[in-house]
């Protein structure tokens, strides 16, 4: 950060074109550019998996089982001869959609409750705050394990569990944001001219708290991805034959010393996706802090 300001202050910057701007950003924040590039690639894989592979992610070919990576199967094949590369690529959509959706549910429910709690205070705030404290006393992964374990492995249950895990975090962020807005003059002014509380909340306060929630969404995304993968790995997440990164690793666990490629590549996919999300999340947070 110190470097960025010192290099930009001395001379008046000449007007730059789109490419110039892009190159300048790339030089200043290589992490952000790498993150965005990886995210674009992941999004393409999620939306158009057939662009990246011609193999089927669920086609079983027993005669081709457990083959190490080769020209025909870049990532090798699993114990029933399915192509690992196709499974990892098709798994992108399943894994990322589950994470993005669950986190969105957390953000909407947790954020709304937090806004209400922080804005109105009083009893609602006391009760909700207590509940959130209780949820926060569980280590996140354990909460995920218990909920999916008890409800049974199923995509809906997985989404329920994952959306509960980080709901308290969104609640706290939104609550703190709403509380700091309540004291501001514009809220007082709006109230004094007779604007209803619900309108102040939804029109003004929410608009100011939303950036905080969005930043938090970006920060939590890689974390929820790791929990999702861990649950899959424990056999509590997506069930085979649906391709999902965690579930592919669960399947490869038993063959780890004979056929490590089954687990290596889906794990690498989790790592790359989490890395991309973290790089972008950090850049977003830095911008927010500067504001």
């Amino acid at each position: 950060m110190a470097q960025a300001t010192s290099s930009s202050t001395p001379s008046v910057p000449a007007p730059l074109g789109t490419w110039g701007k892009l190159i300048r950003t790339a030089r200043r924040e290589p992490g952000l550019v790498l993150g965005v590039a990886l995210l674009v690639l992941l999004l393409l894989a999620a939306l158009f998996p057939s662009l990246f592979t011609s193999q089927s992610p669920i086609g079983v070919f027993i005669d081709r089982a457990m083959q190490p990576p080769s020209r025909d199967h870049w990532f090798g094949t699993d114990d029933v001869g399915r192509d690992i590369m196709a499974r990892v690529i098709y798994g992108t959509r399943v894994t990322l959609a589950i994470c993005a959706g669950s986190l969105l549910i957390s953000a909407v429910i947790g954020g709304t409750l937090g806004l209400i709690s922080g804005f109105f205070g009083g009893w609602t705030d006391q009760v909700l705050g207590r509940l959130v404290d209780v949820l926060l006393s569980f280590p996140p992964i354990i909460l995920g394990v218990i909920i999916t374990g008890v409800l049974g492995p199923d995509i809906i249950n997985l989404v329920v569990a994952l959306s509960i895990v980080y709901m308290p975090v969104f609640f706290r962020i939104a609550r703190a944001g709403a509380m700091s807005e309540v004291g501001k003059t514009y809220v007082e002014a709006a109230r004094s001219i007779g604007v209803r509380d619900s309108t102040v909340l939804s029109r003004h306060v929410m608009r100011n708290v939303l950036p905080l929630i969005l930043t938090q969404y970006m920060i939590l995304f890689p974390l929820i991805l790791q929990i999702q993968a861990a649950l899959g790995f424990l056999g509590l997440g997506v069930q085979p034959p649906t391709p999902d990164w965690g579930a592919i690793m669960e399947q490869g666990k038993d063959y780890i010393l004979y056929a490590p490629w089954i687990s290596v590549f889906p794990g690498l996919a989790v790592l790359i996706a989490a890395l991309a999300l973290m790089l972008v999340g950090r850049a977003v947070q830095k911008r927010m802090d500067q504001r």
Binding site: F138, I141, I142, L234, L268, M278
Partner: protein, 314 residues
Amino acid sequence: MGSYLLKRLFASLLTAVLASILVFLLVRMVPGDVVAQMMGQAGGENAAGALREFFGLDQPIYMQYLTWITNVLQGNLGNSWTRGLPVTDMIGPAFLVTLEIAILTLAVATLVGVPLGILAGIYENRPLDTAIQTFNILGLAAPVFWVGLMLLVGVSAVIGWSPPLRFVPITRSLSDNLSILILPIASLGLLQAAAYSQFVRQNVVSALNQEYVRTAIAKGVPIRVVFFKHILRNVLIPIITFMGLILIQILGGTVIIESLFALPGLGRLLLTAIETRDYPVLQGALLIVVVSAMVVNLVVDLTYRLIDPRVRVA
């Protein structure tokens, strides 16, 4: 301090009670009837009714909770439904395994993470910092079970060694015990070291940017003195606070790592109890995990107040 301590203890106690209710309800969210599931097709209505009465499932749910919590407060977590053993006898040894993993992992994370973070902070934006930051972000992004698997494969491919399959408690043989734990601890410890180092780096950088540190450097105080007197002192407090966070992360991480390396700790006990629908064991293990996390938080909070006079006054 006294009144704060009382308030804090009361709040923790209230959270613990609410958490115990949540634990109890969570376990009972199981769809379908557990007894029916246990008996399968065999047995008639009479047998099922008898079983339900035996487990206390015929009582209303609040009565079941009261019975359970009264026993818990007397140190009795009930008996396992699948193995007949007292739950405390099952949790005791499992807790020791998890505790050993947690302490050793914390040691690795601290010994690796803190020095790396300090170095990265001092050499901000130089190649060494870039290298350490790369390690940090990779460590934060890598899934723990994958790192465990990769270490397992890597070690066996490079030196042809793989850890023994049967767990040996530390009380029987230290060397055998450690040879089993080395890979799980390395995988968990390195990842937590990355988180630790990242955190310490941020604190060192912000300490270096303080006016008084700049003044000290500008007036010619030797860097070593500045470091120990001004920077380290200020960074020490967040380092200790973060230790608690890391410990809670480790507590969660052990569930995965114990399952991967077949270690008989709390996490594995929890997973087995879920699979076999063993309510008493599940409730007991979960309660121990939550209470442990709470105690860690409480201790961190109090240490923080004890060592930082600024917080004490405020």
